[in-house]
């Protein structure tokens, strides 16, 4: 394996998550006529939290602190499993179902940690998190399966390999699956239409309320895990759209690599725009929104089947 590529990958994984989270905040602030925090604010936050002491609930068991570590570890391993343009880092067997169930294990321990303190707020939000994940899981699975149908393999490496000539007929599958993944990532990341990351009321939050008892380095770990998750979910979406571009007009690998990173920031900007113009949906209306993600996944599967010429 090429050392240079590895170093580049590590550097991107180190820098991009923080910048993406910062970009969303900054653009959102600018759109609302505020100055906004500096672009590197997420990094400053993490450093600050890292230095602080930690307070833990009396009722917590080892699961509470263990889950924070396990979560970040899972997220980092997943990031290393996903292919990035032509570079396949990490392990072999980068399977789509492995990817999905690794995400599920991060969620499993997240929910347990939230229940561990006995706080009613985190229990509320963890029950909502379980509901959302239940609804969004089939959307992610079907979007990825649609792509896998085209590649005749469930390995992410071969799905996202830039083939010789996919032809413009492949573009609809990639675009629709990309839309499905984007909508799913909004839910998965607790972004605006389903959850407001900036509200001040614990009762209405999902992701932030789950972390209500975390403090100090423990909270820092959770925040890093969130930004990394944000990056690779958006990264995967961007890869889909890039494939659609590639299917129509093949471009060079270096350009694709640059575009894939730029695309993440573009999606971040899009998220900021979305969060400025929309409001958080009422909880009972969320399934209606998530249903569109599943619909995209189903359409992607249909497009893949008909393209395969059944």
């Amino acid at each position: 394996m090429n050392v240079g590529e590895w170093l580049l990958f590590a550097a991107v994984l180190l820098v991009v998550p923080i910048l993406t989270a910062g970009t969303i905040r900054k653009i959102k602030a600018r759109l609302q006529n505020r100055v906004g925090p500096p672009l590197l604010q997420p990094l400053y936050n993490v450093v600050k939290l890292w230095r602080k002491g930690e307070t833990v609930s009396e009722d917590a068991t080892w699961i509470f602190r263990g889950a924070a570590v396990i979560n970040l570890a899972v997220v980092l391993v997943v990031a290393a499993l996903l292919p990035w343009v032509s570079f396949k880092p990490g392990l072999t067997g980068d399977d789509i179902f492995l990817f999905i169930y690794l995400l599920a294990s991060a969620r499993f321990f997240g929910i347990l940690a939230a229940l561990d303190t006995g706080s009613p707020f985190s229990a509320f939000s963890s029950s909502r998190e379980a509901t959302l994940s239940l609804l969004v899981e089939p959307a992610i699975v079907l979007s990825l399966v649609a792509l896998a149908l085209g590649a005749h393999s469930t390995s992410l490496g071969s799905i996202f390999a830039y083939g010789a000539a996919a032809g413009p007929a492949a573009a609809p599958v990639w675009i629709v699956a990309g839309c499905g993944l984007f909508l799913s990532s909004l839910v998965e990341l607790s972004r605006m239409p389903v959850d407001d990351p900036t509200t001040h009321l614990e009762l209405t939050m999902v992701h932030e309320a789950m972390l209500i008892e975390n403090s100090g380095p423990n909270l820092a770990l959770a925040e890093i895990a969130y930004t990394v998750r944000l990056t690779f979910l958006y990264g995967l979406t961007v890869q889909c759209f890039l494939h659609a571009v590639y299917a129509v007009a093949p471009v060079g690998m270096t350009l694709l690599a640059v575009l894939s990173v730029l695309g993440i920031f573009l999606l971040a900007a899009g998220t900021a725009l979305l969060e400025t113009v929309t409001v958080k949906l009422k909880w009972t209306r969320c399934p209606e929104f998530i249903a569109y993600a599943l619909t995209m996944g189903l359409f992607a599967c249909m497009a893949a089947i008909f393209r395969g010429g059944v």
Partner: protein, 632 residues
């Protein structure tokens, strides 16, 4: 005298079982590569065919599972029986358990239909006796009745199917049966339904949530972990490993499996009783295994080897896996029961600090059943996904492709529901604060009980890490029929090592520093004062969002009553009650049972009490039989 008795009950009897289990494991390993047969000597004879046993590789897998589970049951039982002292006599318990385990082994080894049915009956009756061990409670009576009813129906269907099959093939030996042709549809449907009742597939699952919670926990572990697998073993033995089945049977099994998976886990989520929850989750997993079998039969019928291979390995692997982690979870529930004397989730909570080992193993079991990598549940679920994906890629029939994709989507929902269900089980039972006095006084269970759970947990981890090797072994077993075996190529060991390494580094870097200076404080409660146990979320409130989403299926109702002078701002009394009932029980089985009752009430008139009437019946019966014999 009393002391000797104690020694026998506490050490010798379980020890013997453990020894026999070890012997079973050894036999299973022998059976892996060799085929051994045994026919009972002449005086033992079943009228039309001998008692015949045969140990081959398929039987060996299930024998292995049985032996492993009975080994941990033998470790677990003595401690658990302490908790049941006065309600069950150890002599009765051990005798029935021995009989139960021995009959299960015999069913697995049976080589012909009559031997199979004989031991099948012993297995059903001995387990029914164990379900009914505490006949003083009405709940146990009801459970035992329902369970007995289900076993009767299963046996009747099987007996009818076997007789019909004998008629067709003119042989009692399983080896001579072949359900490939279209004329065999009748007996195949009967036999599949008979096994489906016993396995607890939808819509015949209703006995499971009654029988499993009432039986003693180690017995639940045996029943859920092994016995229902034996029904699936029957399907595998008769259809999969002979010459396949018709497409209708394959589709029937696939349909039942899919519905069971969703139905089981959905009802598991809304249960309050920990063991009922586990029983419903068994319905889900039986459904998953049935999906594997169905995929195998489908692939076999259509001549698509990759599907068949994935399905066969998935079914076998998941049987093994579910046997292990479900037994582990039932033993965990038993440990809670022994320590707190309740399994009601609304009275548990905060057990994690008192019972750290049980918590660790229960979390392991839950993670495995939720199919989290790198544990074993993931490997077998992955195989099922692969089988379905192969259908979508290879089958070439638009309807089948669409259905396969739909089932993949449904399995994803099942995964999400299982996650919610088992985070609820762990979170409400072990985490947070104790919801009752009994829960706050919980103690860790006796070391052998911990050891029994630990053993199963380690096995779960090992099977997960070694899934490529286990998969290869299992596919070698079925490889006689395939040109290229299907092997799960999952980098489980690498993955586990990477996770461990990263997690370790992170712990050292971030959390180990603050371990010393950790401040303890109460959880955030909006500044109202100390959080009490009643403020915590309950199992019901955790499951409420999902339950209200799926209201129509669950018949879920939430009644809230708020009273007080100014009920909007200063409520004095808030009452909330969630109710749900099984659609199937209220709409289908209820009327059915009512009809049977009505019928039997009217039939009872036949029983007039007069001996002359009875003689008349006899005469009528004999004459009509004679007439029938002459005419036909």
């Amino acid at each position: 005298m009393l002391k000797y008795r104690n020694i026998i009950i506490l050490i010798l009897v379980p020890g013997l079982l453990a020894l026999l289990s070890c012997f079973g494991v050894a036999a299973a390993f022998c059976g892996w590569s060799h085929v051994a047969g045994w026919t009972a000597p002449p005086p033992v004879y079943l009228g039309v065919c001998p008692v015949q046993m045969r140990l081959d590789s398929l039987a060996a897998i299930f024998l292995l599972l049985l032996s492993l589970v009975s080994f941990s049951v033998s470790l677990f039982s003595p401690g658990y029986l302490e908790h049941l002292r006065g309600r069950v006599s150890p002599g009765f318990y051990w005798l029935t358990v021995y009989l139960f385990i021995a009959s299960m082994a015999a069913v697995v080894l049976a080589a012909n239909a009559l031997t199979f049915l004989l031991f099948w009956e012993v297995m059903s009756l001995s387990s029914a006796a164990l379900v009914a061990f505490d006949m003083t409670s009405t709940q146990a009576q009801k459970a035992a009745l329902i369970y007995l009813g289900a076993t009767r129906i299963a046996t009747a269907l099987l007996a009818a199917g076997f007789l019909w099959a004998h008629q067709l093939f003119d042989s009692w030996a399983f080896a001579g049966w072949n359900f490939g042709g279209p004329e065999t549809l009748g007996p195949s449907v009967l036999i599949v339904l008979g096994f489906a009742v016993k396995a607890g597939l939808w819509p015949f699952h209703i006995w499971l949530p009654y029988a499993h919670p009432t039986a003693p926990s180690p017995v639940s572990a045996l029943m859920s972990g092994v016995m229902i697998k034996i029904a699936l073993y029957g399907i595998l033995r008769l259809f999969a490993f002979q010459s396949g089945a018709s497409l209708e049977i394959a589709l029937l099994i696939l349909f039942l499996g899919t519905v069971s998976a969703v139905w089981g886990v959905l009802f598991a989520l809304v249960q309050r009783d920990l063991k009922r929850l586990l029983a419903y989750s068994s319905v889900e997993n039986v459904g998953l295994i049935a999906l594997g079998i169905g995929l195998y039969l489908y692939g076999h019928h259509c001549g698509l080897e990759s599907i068949a291979a994935a399905g066969a390995v998935a079914a076998l692997f998941h049987s093994l896996n579910h046997g292990l982690f479900k037994s582990l979870l039932f033993l965990g529930a038993g440990a809670i029961d022994a320590s707190v004397h309740t399994r009601d989730l609304s009275h548990l909570g905060g057990l994690g600090r008192a019972m750290p080992w049980t918590l660790l193993y229960f979390v392991t079991g839950s993670a495995a059943i939720t199919a989290l990598p790198p544990l074993n549940g993931f490997a077998s679920k992955w195989l099922i996904y692969q089988g379905l994906f192969q259908v979508a890629v290879d089958s070439g029939n638009l309807v089948h492709v669409g259905l396969a994709i739909a089932v993949i989507g449904i399995l994803a929902v099942v995964g999400g529901l299982a996650l919610a269900c088992f985070t609820k089980a762990v979170g409400i039972a072990f985490l947070g604060r104790a919801r009752s006095r009994a829960a706050s006084e919980a103690r860790e269970c006796a070391p052998p009980m911990v050891l029994a759970q630990g053993l199963l947990a380690v096995l779960c981890l090992c099977l997960g890490m070694g899934s490529p090797w286990v998969g290869r072994l299992l596919s070698e077993l079925v490889s006689g029929q395939f040109s290229q075996p299907f092997v799960p190529e999952l980098p489980m060991v690498n993955l586990a090592l990477a996770l461990l390494l990263v997690a370790g580094c992170l712990y050292v870097a971030a959390l180990a520093r603050t371990e010393r200076s950790l401040k303890k404080y109460c959880s955030w409660e909006c500044g109202y004062g100390r959080l009490n146990a009643r403020m915590q979320a309950t199992g019901e409130s955790f499951a409420q969002p999902i339950a209200s989403l799926l209201r129509p299926v669950l018949q879920y109702r939430m009644r809230a009553e708020i009273s007080g002078r100014d009920r909007r701002h200063f409520p004095e009394q808030v009452k909330a009650e969630a109710g749900m009932q099984s659609l199937l029980e209220s709409r289908v089985y209820g009327p059915l049972i009512a009809a049977v009752r009505w019928l039997s009430a009217h039939m009872a008139r036949l029983q007039a009490g007069s001996i002359h009437f009875y003689l008349l019946y006899l005469l009528v019966a004999v004459v009509s039989l004679l007439v029938a014999g002459v005419v036909l």
